[in-house]
């Protein structure tokens, strides 16, 4: 583990991505703990639409609420959606991919055809359809993003799992009488950690992007809650008068996605044996 961390920190993308993601997580935790400069819902009526100042570092919005405080809460919200949705997608996708590869036959056919159907939709459309059925909201966007991403995890897991299944050490484990669940969790899963880690990081970037898009359309987090996409959508009609309402949430979304992308690139370089050899 420490060797892995050393290599991650030795990779320039990994270092920068790691710092950004860590900073965002700390900001999100601080916001959850109530450590925002102001109450994110408190309205300073006299200070409406004020530019950045010493009192309000990122200015105030049209209701006189502190933008920095709302941004911190919004980052927390976006990260909550990103981590939960990707967690659910990875769990379901891994389960389906592993069992499809292991049991084969009818189950494999059924699972993979269903995934084909889900992958026949452009991702945002599938998320919209899901939200149409369940209704907008934070919890819904978590489920919608998980629903859209699970097929990708299923494919990412099934391919390598199929080739692992045919390997000698799995045959050996079977001969020794290891149970199916033991082989699946110990032998197959451990060998799938590398591709899964890379996929999870890239999925987090995508999830952050989708969450902000859904909130921007008014289908994710609902007011008076705060999320980065919602803040951007509030800024649309005020951007000429109050550009800080556009710039700060826009930058926050971009930096967050950048952090995960950089981390994903570094992880791929470190964990993918092909590129590791190339680097060596």
């Amino acid at each position: 583990m420490s060797r892995f961390l050393t290599r991650l920190l030795g990779h320039s993308s990994g270092r920068i991505g790691g710092v950004i993601v860590l900073a965002y997580i700390l900001i999100a935790l601080a916001a959850q703990a109530g450590l925002t400069p102001y109450d994110p819902l408190q309205q300073f009526r006299i200070d409406r639409l004020q530019g950045p100042s010493m009192a309000h570092w990122m200015g105030t919005d049209m209701f006189g609420r502190d933008v920095l405080s709302r941004l911190m809460i919004g980052i927390g919200q976006s990260f909550l959606v990103a981590f939960s949705s990707v967690g659910i997608a990875a769990l379901i996708g891994t389960l389906l991919g592993l069992t499809a590869a292991w049991f084969g036959h009818l189950w494999d056919g059924l699972v993979m055809r269903l995934m084909d159907v889900l992958l026949a939709f452009p991702a945002i459309l599938l998320a919209l359809l899901f939200i149409a059925v369940v209704g907008p909201g934070t919890f819904t966007s978590i489920l919608a993003i998980a629903f859209v991403y699970a097929p990708i995890f299923t494919r990412v897991v099934r391919g390598p799992a199929l080739s692992l299944k045919a390997r000698d050490f799995v045959d050996a484990a079977r001969t020794f009488g290891s149970s199916t669940s033991y082989i699946l969790t110990r032998h197959l899963m451990l060998n799938l950690v590398a591709p899964l880690t890379v996929q999870v990081t890239l999925a987090l970037a995508w999830s952050l992007l989708t969450e902000s898009g859904l909130s921007f359309l008014g289908l994710g987090t609902q007011p008076p809650g705060s999320s980065l996409g919602l803040m951007l959508s509030d800024s649309v009609n005020l951007m000429e008068m109050a550009p800080w309402l556009l710039v700060f949430p826009g930058l926050a979304i971009m930096l967050g996605i950048l952090g995960f992308n950089l981390l994903g690139d570094a992880l791929r370089d470190i964990l993918d044996p092909r590129s590791r050899r190339a680097v060596a």
Partner: protein, 320 residues
Amino acid sequence: MTYLLRRLITFPLVMLGVSVLVFVAIRLVPGDSITAMLGTEAGLLTPQQKQALAAYFGLDQSWLVQYGRWLLGVLSADLGLSVTYGKPVLDVILQRFPLTLELACLSMVVAIGIGLPLGVFAATRRERGSDLAVRIFAMIGQSTPSFVIGLMIIYVLSAGFGILPAMGQFIPFSEDPLGNIGQLILPALTLGLSFTASVTRISRSAMLDVLSDDYVRTARSKGATRRRVIWRHALPNALIPVVTLSGVEFGYLLGGAVLVEQIFALPGLGRMVLDAILQRDYALVQGSVLFVALNFMIVNLLVDLAYVMLDPRIRLGGRS
């Protein structure tokens, strides 16, 4: 070849699965479409009038009957009647599609026109300052959502130059070519720029792979000029992943760019689907989602075909 054959055989089956999923999903939406269509006026209807309307739109039948009727209709290019537009669904879709198609094509021109040369340029200057600059640009571009780029462009233009992009009504190319391009250039730049980053990254890495191949070294040692080696020998082979990526992206764009259409107030397919979902226009959602999924799958199939055409190793049966 067997791979392509399998793709062709499973194509109608996946489409059938898509149609079932769309049909069931839209019927799980809470509330009924008659109320959604009439809004507050629905309260003024007598139960008999409601029933008559439901019968008119075929909503009083069982799901299985409704699905069967719908599927039969789809097969004869009849996607039903949109309750919000009062017109056949296919007419509504085909009215919106030209804008989406044109926007998708223009965005691809922007993305490939900038991304490909930039990627090739970076690959030929590996590990130098200019390569690093291109990589940083691409990384930041890939991390910026298209709607953030779009909002920034609108802000810079309106605050800096007092220009506002033409929004609202779509100006067809055949009626006013200049007006049409003027209307679509900013959305196309927005969509194109966010995709440029991916094209740059993939063409850079594909070029790097190819440039270290033996045949490139052979061409160099035979005295071919640097330019000829790059553009004639290396690039055609590096194009394969670029084509794949661009094809998939094009398929996405044909589904309508909901967010960018929303920002620039363009009446494209994406916004139509969003509005149809919000207004519970069952027939329109069903029809348009099916239309988009069909486009998406056809483009993906064409990408696979192009892949086979471009790579002789696959064409000659090397793929096992």
